[in-house]
């Protein structure tokens, strides 16, 4: 007996035709609005004129900054904390358009804020946010004037009710249940019902962002893209991590995840020497755009600003 749910199924054929999951099909070929930023050049941001001149966008573009530095990891994958801090500084300065780091951070936090830094740390899967990334962010928050007592960095147990601002600090990992895990999925443990957001439920990964103590508080997303994971899971195999040596920064989680998806998909294709489509399709990204209205997954409305090391950037 066939259920109505099966009658309404979204199938692989819909996905390949591009009639399902919005622009998630971009995994097969991303067409972004890219620009290069000089190392010392802050980019002036005028979203209205940008939209008029570059795109037929109905909304202003979402900007995502990608900073890469070959020195971020050594040959043994050890993190160079100083270089990582420089990368984060560069990303936030470019995103904000400021030339000084403290002023750049002041675009996103105020001294009176109680800031929750939400990173990711799973004991078994082991694609953690690197401690150097967390430390650099906490240090910069303090330098921007936020009291040390007002900064809390953790994976589990953020006092969301008290927090007036959130900094989302995920990694990039392909996930066997949700397709991809970047910034949208990083808030899953705010719900206490993590399992309900797996399988078909992964389409609802935008939901935690609208919880009363979460909604509107995310000021900045900084993605640790130093060593993403692109394999089939369920746990990490070292051969499916690579030294991408990147940091992504932005304020639009959907745009950030779209770029993260594109990077991971490109790496999978490169690794196999053929198309290795991320499976299951990351339905959360399109839904976060069209259902939860958290940002844009439309490549024509995402401006990717690349900075630094260019080799094998993949996007």
């Amino acid at each position: 007996m066939r259920s109505n749910k099966n009658e309404e199924s979204v199938t692989r054929r819909d996905f390949l035709r591009g009639t399902a999951y919005g622009t998630v099909g971009l995994a097969l070929g991303l067409n972004l609005a890219c620009s290069e930023a000089g190392k010392d050049e802050a980019v002036a941001f005028d979203p209205v004129s940008m939209a008029k001149s570059l795109f037929k966008a109905e909304r202003p573009v979402s900007r995502v900054v990608l900073v890469r530095d070959e020195r971020a990891l050594d040959a043994d994958h050890k993190v160079n904390a100083g270089v990582v801090a420089e990368m984060i500084d560069a990303a936030v300065k470019t995103l904000s358009g400021e030339k000084e780091t403290a002023r750049a951070w002041q675009h996103y936090v105020r001294p009176e804020d109680k800031v929750g830094v939400k990173y990711t740390r799973c004991e078994s899967v082991r694609v953690h946010t690197e401690q150097a990334v967390i430390d650099a962010i906490v240090a910069r928050l303090a330098e921007a004037g936020v009291a040390k007592a007002g900064i809390r960095a953790t994976d589990y147990g953020l006092p969301l009710k008290e927090c007036t601002a959130l900094i989302n600090v995920p990694t990039i990992k392909v996930h066997p249940l949700t397709g991809i895990a970047v910034s949208l999925k990083n808030y899953i443990n705010f719900t206490g019902r993590e399992s309900s957001y797996h399988h078909e439920g992964s389409v609802k990964l935008g939901e935690p962002w609208l919880l009363p103590h979460v909604k509107g508080k995310t000021r900045l997303i900084i993605v640790d893209a130093l060593r993403p994971y692109f394999g089939p899971g369920p746990q990490v195999s070292p051969v499916h991590r690579w030294d991408y040596r990147g940091i992504l920064a932005g304020t639009d989680p959907v745009a950030i995840d779209t770029i993260g998806l594109a990077i991971a998909q490109a790496k999978r294709n490169l690794y196999k020497g053929e198309e290795w489509i991320i499976s299951p399709p990351p339905t959360s990204i399109a839904a976060a755009d069209t259902v939860y209205h958290l940002g844009t997954s439309d490549p024509s409305k995402i401006q990717l600003i690349r900075q630094g090391w260019e080799k094998d950037a993949l996007v």
Binding site: R12, R13, G231, P232, G233, P234, Q235, S279
Partner: protein, 279 residues
């Protein structure tokens, strides 16, 4: 399970208390990734860590499944790496050794790959292998795969939709009515110069297989009329061909073929093998 693990190996010594996880609390150890283990009949996990001064740690995970078939199944989830002669099947990749034997799936991970950790992981694997008295058997369904053109490392064995979608997304609903009682093999073949995908499902009986075949016809191939029995080939997106064949308790699907003949030839070969293995 602790009897399978030594207290020391190649200079590494067990450190800290062993930890145990079951179906009820596996998420405490691996968050959402636990769903893939639960998609098989996973029973218990033992985690033991080994340490050595000035050397990376080694983590040993021993997964006990309810059957050797499911131990093979979870082993087949990720097939990337170098095959190693150990247990009933083993793969080594950059500090990670995985193998299966009897009802046990073993995962040994060095914090960092060095010559020393590689030797220690291999030695630990051999210790565990030697401590496991029975070999166990592979799923019988694997024998139904025709060998010509079968790509090494491409075979995945599982039961449910969760595993299927992790490997090859077909639909967001349970289109093939997969359940813990269903046996499924997904494999890739090189046929007519192109890689094609075979999905072979074994149901409890012919009626279940027929229902899945009809549903696939209707939902995936968009055929609202009575399906042509016992099977059909259709041209779909990107100029690819897809075929579906109902054969007693089996459903045979071929994807990504360049032409109808490839679908038909591979399907016929599977039908023949199924007849030989299951009669």
């Amino acid at each position: 399970m602790e009897q399978f693990l030594p207290t020391k190996t190649a200079g590494w010594v067990a450190a800290g208390a062993d930890r145990y996880f079951t179906r009820d609390n596996i998420f405490e150890y691996m968050d959402g990734a636990g769903e893939i283990y639960l998609a098989y009949d996973f029973r218990r996990l033992l985690v033991r860590e080994y340490e050595k001064r000035a050397a990376p740690r080694i983590i040993a995970e021993i997964y006990q499944m309810s059957s050797s078939e499911d131990a093979y199944g979870i082993f087949s989830h990720d097939t990337d790496g170098q095959p190693v002669t150990l247990g009933r099947g083993a793969i080594y990749a950059a500090g990670l050794l995985r193998f299966w034997k009897d009802r046990i799936f073993v995962r040994l991970l060095a914090g960092e790959e060095t010559a020393g950790t590689k030797a220690a992981v291999m030695a630990l694997g051999k210790n565990i292998d030697a401590a496991l008295p029975s070999a166990g058997k592979k799923p019988r369904l694997l024998a139904a795969l025709p060998l010509p053109g079968l790509l090494r490392g491409s075979v995945h064995y599982f039961h449910t939709q969760v595993s299927l979608n992790a490997h090859y997304f077909l639909a967001d609903s349970n289109l093939l009515n997969l359940s813990p009682k269903t046996e499924v093999v997904l494999a890739r073949y090189l046929r007519s110069g192109r890689k094609v995908r075979l999905l072979l499902c074994r149901y409890a009986d012919a009626a279940e297989a027929k229902a899945a075949f009809e549903q696939f016809n209707k939902v995936y191939l968009h055929d609202r009329s009575a399906p042509k029995l016992p099977g059909r080939v259709e041209k779909v997106e990107r100029g690819e061909f897809v075929s579906a064949r109902w054969n007693e308790a089996f459903l045979i699907l071929v994807f990504e073929a360049r032409d109808p003949r490839t679908c038909e030839a591979l399907t016929e070969a599977v039908v023949k093998r199924v007849g030989e293995v299951f009669r």
